[in-house]
């Protein structure tokens, strides 16, 4: 706790220091430039107005002020950013051993938190093609998505959605399909990934993958990503599941884990 407190304190100090204020976007960390961020002003992206109330109802809290959980996501955001910037990564997969641990919600909240940080634009891609649900959190009903890009050759630009949160772009999955792993293994997919990764160098891509245990989708897609975040749930995920998941993730791509639904007192609000 002590260490965490210190870290938090330090982070807050940095944030409050006039020179480090994210708003003027001066003193950018590493590869991100203010100009580049300004450039992606959603010219082609459709914007959807999303009610704050709805987000809150769907447990999306990362954008809220004075929220303990949002603070926790800020910690997670910082840690993720640090690790990714050291390695020069920009594509992070969020997965879990099994379904129901809160993987998608964590991905959404992390993406929002990263976007709120202000130095990056964030793309949140829903690659859980069997049970796509990212759009549910934003209250968007049955949007077109990646599946449509593959099947109907819908241009990828038309698929992006901006959920009225600055620097955040969603890439929905589309209609649920069964042959998801085959689709993910296609060269077209590889092309798409390469394009997404390289089009905007300052963009962070968060990919919501299916659970590792339930299908081979995650295994198929993991080679494309730079890093992987494992979400586990207290009292739900078992030790063997975590062990097997870790075996499936390449060691150097393993960014870390998030313990969800925990009763443990880990709140910076105590501070």
């Amino acid at each position: 706790m002590e260490r965490i407190h210190k870290a938090l304190e330090k982070a807050r100090e940095q944030r409050n220091r006039p020179g480090n204020k994210p708003q003027p976007r001066t003193g950018k960390p590493n590869y991100v430039t203010a100009a580049a961020v300004q450039e992606i002003k959603y010219t082609q992206t459709q914007t959807v107005e999303i009610s704050q109330q709805l987000l809150k109802q769907n447990r999306v809290v990362a954008h809220l002020k004075d929220n303990e959980t949002a603070d926790l996501f800020k910690i997670l955001r910082t840690k993720v950013l640090q690790r990714m910037s050291i390695n020069g990564w920009n594509m992070l997969a969020v997965t879990s051993p099994t379904a129901g641990v809160g993987k998608s919600l964590t991905a959404v909240n992390l993406a929002i938190s990263l976007a709120m940080e202000g130095n990056h634009s964030v793309l949140l891609a829903d690659l859980d093609l069997r049970r796509p649900n990212i759009h549910h959190y934003f209250g968007i009903s049955s949007p077109k998505g990646i599946v449509d890009y593959f099947t109907d050759d819908v241009p990828i630009n038309e698929l992006f959605i901006n959920p009225s949160i600055e620097r955040l772009v969603l890439l929905p999955a589309g209609k649920p399909i069964r042959q998801s792993s085959e689709l993910l293994a296609t060269p077209k997919m590889l092309n798409l990934v390469n394009e997404l990764k390289n089009r905007y160098s300052d963009r962070l891509i968060i990919v919501d993958l299916p659970p590792l245990m339930s299908s081979d989708d995650a295994m198929v897609f993991l080679p494309y990503v730079d890093a992987c975040l494992l979400v586990v749930a207290e009292g739900l995920t078992t030790n063997p599941e975590i062990e097997r998941s870790l075996q499936l993730i390449e060691e150097k791509k393993y960014l870390g884990s998030v313990l969800n639904k925990s009763a443990e007192i880990w709140s910076p609000a105590a501070y």
Binding site: K56, T69, G235, L236, N239, G256
Partner: protein, 581 residues
């Protein structure tokens, strides 16, 4: 991996948070159960009596009790005697105890139960042993208690038991005292009989060995000495008498029994013997001078023969002399004459007749002398001799008897050691028996006194210093303790349940578990994100639960009040059971 085993306080707090629903449910359930158990356990009342063991009033130095066992030992013995099946059964029947138990169990089991309900405890005090001077424990009192579900019965049965104990103690003590007395009496009688036997034996022995008794030893010796001296005396007298006799005989032999007769001429007339001797001498002289046919010789011969007849003493010596002379004569004749010479023949005849005469056995001894002695001196001497001989005979007889006596004394003295040994052994037996008898007799008197003491209740006794009181409060169960223990137990067991459950499930709990598995702590630990809806939903659920519990409680209470027992009564009962009323 070590970290997995060490759980901090926060881990337990987190665990409590996770499992709180179940924890509360288990804890409250168990707690309710213990409350129910505590209240439903039947009250047991215990009535206790304290009985003091009082020392005997008369100092033991004066009258020693014959009951010498230790008090606690005696109490145990009495216990065994009181707690017989028949006694207990009588009490059970008298007070109507264990009605339900008797229906369900055999009598032996019920009696065991009763024995468990009867509690006997010794009360000891630290005292200093008056004999050894060391500190020791002495039983000074004991408590007797009976437990029952009814306070009244507890008191009554305790009373009954106390009286049984007290009675049994008295009975036991007087029994022991009486037994001791009677035993000693029997022993004394036996010994007295033995003494009588020994006395008889001794008397017989004394009678049998009257002369050899050790105490007569000296006397016997003296007697023997005396007798020996007497023997010597008698011997001396005998000697003297012999001497006298010899002297008298010599004297006598010099005296002619007959007085010398003198003829008128003053010539002494010889007696027959003297004349015979004179004649025989004359005859020899004549035969030398004359032949046998000479009338002198013939006359002399006839005279000799007549005298011989008178004197009676046929003297063989004379015949032999004749025979010898005849043979000599014959030898001279044979030299001169032939055998057929008449002289020779005659001589031969004479010799053979002489030989025949000699060979003839001595014919009837003729009275020596028919003539009475008439010499006064002779007669006097003779009388003296006879007197001496008579005395000698008497002395010899007395010596003989003295010798006999001496032999007897010797025998007695010789026998004395043997007799003494037997006598001593008899005496020893007798003395032993007497000493023993005296001892036993003394003891018997003491025992008599002790018995009298017991009879007068002056000995050690049990006195009831605290009779069993009516127990107002049950001594068992301790409901408060049970409820308190139940509280701790229910909380502990619910926690235990949670710990076991979490350790049995392989699901991860807490960041440490993640650290243990992945080798890295989680980047962040997120709580379950609650929406307002969730919160309000939880609240309404809680409210619902609370209301339903209250409702159920009210329903139960109402049910209890109207169907089982009115609440005010129940309240009273509960308060009383908790010891608060």
């Amino acid at each position: 991996m070590e970290e997995e085993n060490t759980k901090g306080l926060q881990d337990y707090v987190a665990m409590f948070k996770r499992q709180r629903g179940k924890l509360l449910l288990i804890a409250s359930g168990l707690f309710l159960l213990t409350i129910l158990v505590a209240i439903s356990l039947p009250s047991v009342y215990k009535a206790t009596a304290t009985i003091l063991i009082e020392q005997q009033e008369i100092p033991p130095d004066l009258v020693r009790s014959t009951v010498t066992s230790y008090a606690d030992q005696r109490i145990q013995v009495i216990s065994q005697r009181v707690m017989t099946s028949s006694n207990l059964k009588r009490i059970i029947d008298k007070f109507g105890l264990y009605v339900d138990e008797q229906k369900a169990n055999p009598l032996s089991v019920v009696l065991e139960t009763m024995k468990e309900d009867i509690q006997l405890e010794m009360v000891s005090a630290d005292v200093v042993d008056p004999v050894s001077g060391r500190p020791t424990q002495a039983t000074i009192a004991f408590t007797l208690a009976f437990s029952s579900k009814s306070p009244k019965i507890a008191q009554e049965v305790a009373n009954e038991l106390v009286s049984l104990y007290l009675d049994e103690n008295l009975k036991r003590r007087s029994e022991v005292a009486a037994e001791t007395t009677s035993f000693l009496g029997l022993e004394a009688a036996k010994l007295s009989e033995q003494i009588a036997n020994l006395e008889t034996e001794l008397a017989i022995f004394k009678e049998k060995n009257a002369s050899s008794l050790p105490q007569l030893q000296n006397f016997n010796m003296q007697l023997m000495d005396k007798t020996e001296q007497q023997v010597i005396e008698v011997d001396r007298q005998i000697n003297a008498l012999n001497e006298r006799k010899v002297y008298l005989e010599a004297e006598l032999s010099q005296l002619n029994p007959n007085t010398n007769i003198y003829s008128a001429t003053g010539e002494r007339i010889y007696g027959s013997e003297d004349r015979l001797k004179a004649l025989e001498a004359e005859f020899i002289a004549l035969s030398a001078r004359y032949s046998g046919n000479h009338p002198d010789i013939a006359k002399t011969k006839r005279e000799i023969e007549a005298l011989r007849k008178e004197v009676g003493a046929t003297d063989n010596g004379e015949l032999l002399t004749q025979l010898t002379s005849k043979r000599a004569e014959l030898a001279t004749l044979i030299d001169r004459y032939s055998e057929s010479h008449p002289d020779v023949k005659k001589l031969r005849k004479e010799i053979s007749s002489l030989e025949a005469q000699l060979n003839r056995p001595l014919s009837v001894s003729l009275p020596k002398s028919t003539a009475k002695p008439d010499n006064p001196a002779y007669i006097q001497l003779k009388a003296q001799l006879e007197a001496a001989e008579a005395e000698l005979r008497a002395q010899r007889t007395s010596k003989e008897s003295l010798r006999q006596k001496l032999g007897e004394y010797e025998k007695s003295i010789l026998q004395a050691p043997q007799v003494e040994r037997e006598y001593q052994s008899l005496m020893r037996d007798y003395e032993n028996a007497t000493v023993k008898y005296r001892e036993v007799k003394a003891k018997q008197m003491e025992a008599d006194m002790a018995q009298a003491m017991e009879k007068d209740r002056k000995g050690e006794r049990f006195s009831l210093i605290e009779p069993p009181m009516f127990p107002e409060e049950p001594f068992k169960p301790n409901r408060k303790a049970i409820i308190f223990l139940g509280l701790i137990l229910s909380i502990g067991s619910s926690f235990g349940f949670a710990v076991v459950k979490e350790s049995l499930s392989s699901a991860i709990f807490g960041s440490r578990a993640v650290l243990a598995v992945t080798g890295l702590a989680p980047l962040v630990v997120l709580p379950y994100i609650e929406t307002d809806e969730d919160i309000s939903k939880n609240q309404s659920t809680k409210l619902k639960i609370i209301f339903s519990i209250i409702g159920a409680l009210i329903a139960v209470i109402l049910f209890f009040h109207f169907v089982i027992k009115p609440l005010d009564v129940l309240w009273y009962v509960v308060m009383r059971k908790l010891g608060l009323g």
